[in-house]
Assembly symmetry: C2
């Protein structure tokens, strides 16, 4: 029998919001004046492919804690170069970087999160910095009890303190915290520290040909298709 | 002409919630089994009188950062002794300390805050720790964009970093942050750092015979009677 859940913490990119679809929808308008044809999906994927490597310098200690806004902005320069778009001016690059602040929620996100708030405190536990997450929350209609995660902990998932700080801030043991994510690796890190786990299937996060995280690869407490499903499962369990 | 406000930060104890009335209403039930007659108002005032001194040890650096829950709990022991209530058991003392987590909002608080969220990000900037503030938010129906303040900054107002960290987290200069408080001293500290200021009259925070903070003592940007009044003033100004 699991301990009752008091705090739910959520991965956001991919789990709550559709970063890839949002990038594709918004990139075209920004790049149109500089490009005859850019594959927005390939551009989004190339940009996101630099996400983990860019955080790794911080995780390893080679670089002091740096907000994700800055890491995305640096990665963007590399991607523009690679796509032959080095003529895009600085001001436009800054604008493009702000697409990450206007990501759309998955269709179930806003209402599902409101349902889940009946089961406990619901907090973002993302690698995004506070302002990024606060803008996304407003844009996507998400109501969080608190934005925890990278800027709160000055560390990047899967570094342990990001998960443990959530329990600590809410004055509960880790087993009363439920990590909700569409990524098995995030749940592995959380479970190893004693958190409960819920896997949300998001089979098109990486587009129609996604091959990763299609199914749970660990023994997670809940496996659901969306946030409504998780709210329903928690209601049945209590 | 002032800069547009992007972020509103709120003192909470006294400005948004009626801590004294809430303590008085809830203390009686806890103390009844141990006391024939305790003046709940005097008890609340004695407890709160230890608030500033207890934080001073942290501000001075004599003590590492310690959450307000702990400081209140320590102060409670002193107050119980002083009121001849040393027979109150530990478990009951812990329960009494949690009254601070169930403070009622002033009548205008929940709706006024919702109105103010149309004008910018609205964040708690309290000396209360995160869990305390999160519980109060749920209890009083307050929706914050983020709980900043003491635990975010690991410092206590009026230490400068508490105010400056709010601007930093939201990636705006201090003049785009509006400090909302019923206490002139809080606004003085904020104004000295470049924040905008709004004074909310709460003439009964300290009970019917209050003598302090009845009127503004500085040149504040706004002076209002409640949060509705501030929302109205901001709407007129834009």
């Amino acid at each position: 029998m699991s301990a009752p859940v008091e705090v739910l913490v959520f991965d956001v990119f991919g789990t709550v919001v559709d970063w890839r679809g949002s990038l594709i929808r918004q990139l075209a308008g920004h790049l149109a004046p500089y490009s005859i044809e850019v594959d927005a999906g390939a551009f989004a994927d190339a940009w996101r492919a630099l996400y983990q490597p860019s955080m790794e310098a911080v995780r390893s200690g080679a670089r002091p804690w740096t907000p994700l806004d800055t890491l995305y902005r640096e990665s963007l320069d590399h991607v523009l170069d690679r796509f032959g778009l080095d003529r895009v001016p600085l001001a436009v690059r800054d604008e493009i970087n702000l697409i990450w602040h206007r990501l759309d929620g998955w269709p179930d996100a806003a209402v599902g999160l409101a349902e889940l708030r009946r089961h406990g405190f619901c907090c973002a536990l993302s690698n995004g910095n506070l302002r990024l997450m606060a803008d996304v929350a407003r844009h996507a209609g998400l109501v969080w009890d608190q934005i925890l995660g990278a800027e709160w902990s000055k560390a990047y998932k899967p570094q342990p303190q990001v998960y443990l700080d959530a329990a600590k801030a809410f004055l509960v043991p880790p087993e009363r915290v439920l990590m909700v994510a569409a990524h098995n690796s995030d749940l592995e890190a959380a479970q190893a520290l004693g958190l409960q786990t819920a896997f949300v299937r998001r089979p098109t996060e990486h587009g129609p040909t996604q091959t990763t995280d299609l199914e749970p690869t660990g023994t997670w407490g809940w496996v659901v298709d969306d946030l409504h499903g998780l709210a329903h499962s928690l209601a049945v369990a209590t």
